[in-house]
């Protein structure tokens, strides 16, 4: 009994006071920013990029595995800011593009979804399907509910039954062997419902894109409400994305 009390006392208060505004360590590679349209840098980075996320003159965060190779080699062109506000409500929005006129790059935006806000503003239940996820996104999604990030404080929870869920949050590139189970789980969730893609694998296949063992056919016919990039997606990115989708975060 005294051992437990001692552990509880030294444990202290672990919750991050405001996970939507907290600063993250400067070494975190988050929001991608393009600093200029140096053709040579782009040419070489295009060759270098393991997930073919770089084009002229853009960087697709939905494909990016955040290995940081481009930013280490060409720091004057590519930067990953320590900013976890990376999610987007459109696939297109994840593609960071250089704008010649304004000499700046685009930024992903999560538009609040009026329908989801109306139904789920105060209570939002997620059902996760891991479809060939490497267990990194899964662990980060699990961490959202832990004592530090404590997603439950906002009324957002991950639960077991699709029948009780309001959204399906997908992790992993969708293996052929999981395609059917994924679709079935989606169908088991009552309307209204939303599909959230968590991590670069779910969004684009990530480092597994192009493997013949994947089957993204069904997924490609869907219209996800939210795209959360990362390899894996950071719990703060997940929280910020979902809260923005529900219109609870500007």
């Amino acid at each position: 009994m005294f051992d437990l009390l001692k552990a509880r006392l030294t444990h202290g208060y672990q919750a991050i006071p405001d996970p939507l505004k907290v600063a993250i360590h400067p070494s975190f590679p988050g929001l991608a920013v393009i600093l200029g349209a140096n053709e040579e840098d782009f040419d070489q980075a295009e060759q270098l990029c393991p997930t073919k996320a770089i084009g002229k003159f853009s960087l697709d965060m939905g494909k990016c595995c955040f290995c940081g190779e481009c930013s280490r080699r060409f720091p004057d062109t590519f930067v990953f800011k320590p900013d976890y506000r990376m999610a987007s409500s459109s696939r297109e929005g994840l593609i960071i593009k250089w704008d010649k006129e304004s000499q700046t790059c685009t930024k992903p935006v999560v538009e609040a979804n009026a329908k989801l806000r109306k139904h789920f503003r105060r209570s939002f239940a997620l059902r996760n399907v891991s479809a060939a996820g490497c267990n990194a996104c899964e662990l980060e999604l699990g961490a959202c509910s832990n004592v530090n990030f404590d997603m439950g404080r906002y009324g957002i929870e991950v639960l077991a039954s699709p029948r009780h869920a309001d959204a399906l949050i997908l992790t992993g590139p969708v293996s052929a062997n999981m395609a059917f189970a994924l679709q079935q789980t989606w169908e088991a969730i009552p309307e209204p419902k939303a599909l959230i893609l968590c991590g670069s694998c779910a969004i684009s296949g990530g480092v597994f894109a192009g493997s013949e063992a994947l089957n993204r056919e069904w997924l490609n016919t869907m219209q996800p409400a939210l795209f959360i990039p990362g390899c894996p997606a950071h719990p703060l990115s997940i929280l910020h994305g979902i809260m923005s989708l529900l219109g609870r975060q500007k």
């Binding site: 060939a132 077991a160 063992a213």
Partner: protein, 488 residues
């Protein structure tokens, strides 16, 4: 064997041994097995050959090679050496080579294009009206990887568990073998995201051997620190989950918070809580500066104090002991026979650990820790003492580590042609083996990845027999095996 062989971990095979007659091949395997060797790998190549690597701690790797048997049949090794049972299932699925007499030669992964379909899985079943079956998954109740469990119960008691794999199959080995082997770091890290360092390091070591490169001692130390840090982080995650499974919620929260502290210190160095992007073939992307060294040591020292407080409370709680003690037991004989490793094996008193058996520099004096009861308690307690052991190792390594930078890494030349490299790493789950074989033009002919889970899954199936079905989640968590680690 050729004298040019680099016969320490990673192993480099410059000249392959000659093709043996098929009968001699199997006789040799049986003889080595009788001498205490265990199989590191056994697979068929695209060139129609069977390759088997037999290992014994502190002895050279024995590589055996033969052509595919004429009628694609041979008498099964599993009947007398059960360690081969999973290799033979894989061989059957990938090349249609039948191990005659294998107790149950069913598919393993159901890869794309295979004849066998997931829906036709040949489950063991019983006609008895006294028994019922419980199916769980592939979509589980928690946030975890998919897999299917079919449990045959007599009342509340588990008679038999069958684990259907294949849902996580992404064709990893094929992707790894496609293109320049030096550019596969990100893929290697995603073999199992919770073991990004373990599999990443195994990949780096094998590729460096192929390219004839040795990294500097300081770089090697940074990598070993990363490996031990990953072990501490995941052991804490497991202690948290074990506590959660028995509704010991204080423990669940204590250990989860401690894990956050530990993995955030990995983020502070390389930007990833999982150690992704830290390593690269030839070295590291991020070194440890003198300042980071100090911060890491202080963070871990503070965490250690709290780990001690929390584990003391956990293992003093009668309710916890009641659930952990004598639940899901395995015997020493089982884990030895079935080639298990890691927590699963060491919790049964089997002192198998790649850090001792296939040591690299940092682990010269390493002695594996064991527990003997083989139950959930042993697996939990072992995680506790391994955390302490890894912390001690990290403190020591940090104390000797000079200020290191990414620039201390080595540039890789092209891999050698027609050679083979084998690397062995003790990840937090157990023994990870990577095998790379290059073709005559230096391209990758074959890449094989072995996660300890490949062997250890069967341990779970054995451990739950005669347990209450309500203890299944607890048993499962105490093993915490990976599906994707072996691309299952």
């Amino acid at each position: 064997m050729d004298t040019n062989v680099l016969n320490k971990n990673p192993f480099l095979i410059l000249k392959q041994p000659g093709l043996m007659e098929i009968a001699d091949f199997y006789t040799a395997i049986r003889q080595l097995s009788a001498l205490g060797y265990f199989p590191l790998f056994y697979f068929g190549t695209s060139g129609g050959e069977l390759l088997c690597g037999m290992a014994k701690p502190e002895l050279p790797l024995e590589l055996l090679r033969t052509a595919f048997p004429d009628n694609r049949q041979y008498p099964s090794l599993s009947t007398d050496i059960p360690a081969f049972h999973i290799f033979e299932r894989e061989l059957y699925e990938e090349h249609g080579i039948e191990a005659v007499g294998h107790p149950w030669l069913k598919p393993l992964r159901y890869p794309a294009g295979a004849k066998a379909q997931m829906d036709d899985y040949p489950f063991f079943s019983s006609e008895s009206s006294a028994l019922h079956e419980v199916g769980v998954g592939p979509v589980h109740a928690g946030v975890i990887e998919p897999g299917h469990f079919r449990i045959i119960c007599h009342g509340e008691t588990v008679e038999h568990l069958e684990i259907q794999l294949g849902y996580q199959h992404r064709g990893v080995c094929k992707l790894l073998a496609d293109g320049d082997i030096r550019t596969k770091m990100q893929l290697a890290e995603a073999i199992a995201g919770d073991t990004a360092i373990g599999h990443g390091l195994a990949y780096c070591m094998a590729v460096e051997a192929l390219c004839g490169v040795q990294v500097s001692p300081a770089i090697q130390t940074v990598r070993s620190i990363a490996l031990e840090l990953e072990r501490i982080g995941m052991h804490l995650a497991d202690l948290s989950a074990l506590a959660g499974d028995i509704a010991y919620l204080s423990g669940q929260n204590f250990f989860a918070a401690l894990r956050t502290t530990v993995i955030n210190s990995s983020l502070a160095i390389c930007g990833s809580r999982f150690g992704k992007r830290w390593l690269k073939p030839g070295g590291v992307n991020y070194g440890i500066s003198a300042e980071q060294n100090k911060v890491l040591r202080n963070t871990l020292k503070i965490a250690e104090e709290q780990i001690d407080n929390c584990t003391k409370a956990l293992f003093a709680d009668a309710g916890v002991l009641n659930r952990f003690d004598s639940t899901g037991s395995l015997s020493l004989k089982m884990v030895q026979e079935l080639n298990m490793s890691g927590i699963t094996a060491k919790a049964c008193g089997y002192a198998v650990d790649a850090r001792k058996d296939f040591p690299i520099r940092e682990y010269a004096d390493f002695q594996p820790l064991i527990q003997n009861s083989g139950d959930v308690y042993a697996r939990a307690k072992l995680r506790n003492v391994e955390i302490k052991q890894s912390l001690e190792m990290i403190y020591f390594m940090l104390s000797t580590l000079p200020d290191t930078k990414a620039e201390d890494s080595t540039v890789l030349s092209a891999p050698g042609a027609d050679i083979m490299a084998v690397s062995v790493v003790e990840g937090w789950r157990g023994r990870i083996v990577h095998v790379i074989k290059t073709a005559a033009d230096g391209s990758t002919e074959q890449y094989k990845v072995y996660d300890p889970s490949l062997h250890n899954w069967f341990g779970l199936a054995l451990a739950v027999r005669n347990e209450g079905i309500s203890d299944f989640p607890l048993c499962n968590k105490s093993f915490d095996l990976s599906y994707c680690g072996a691309d299952l």
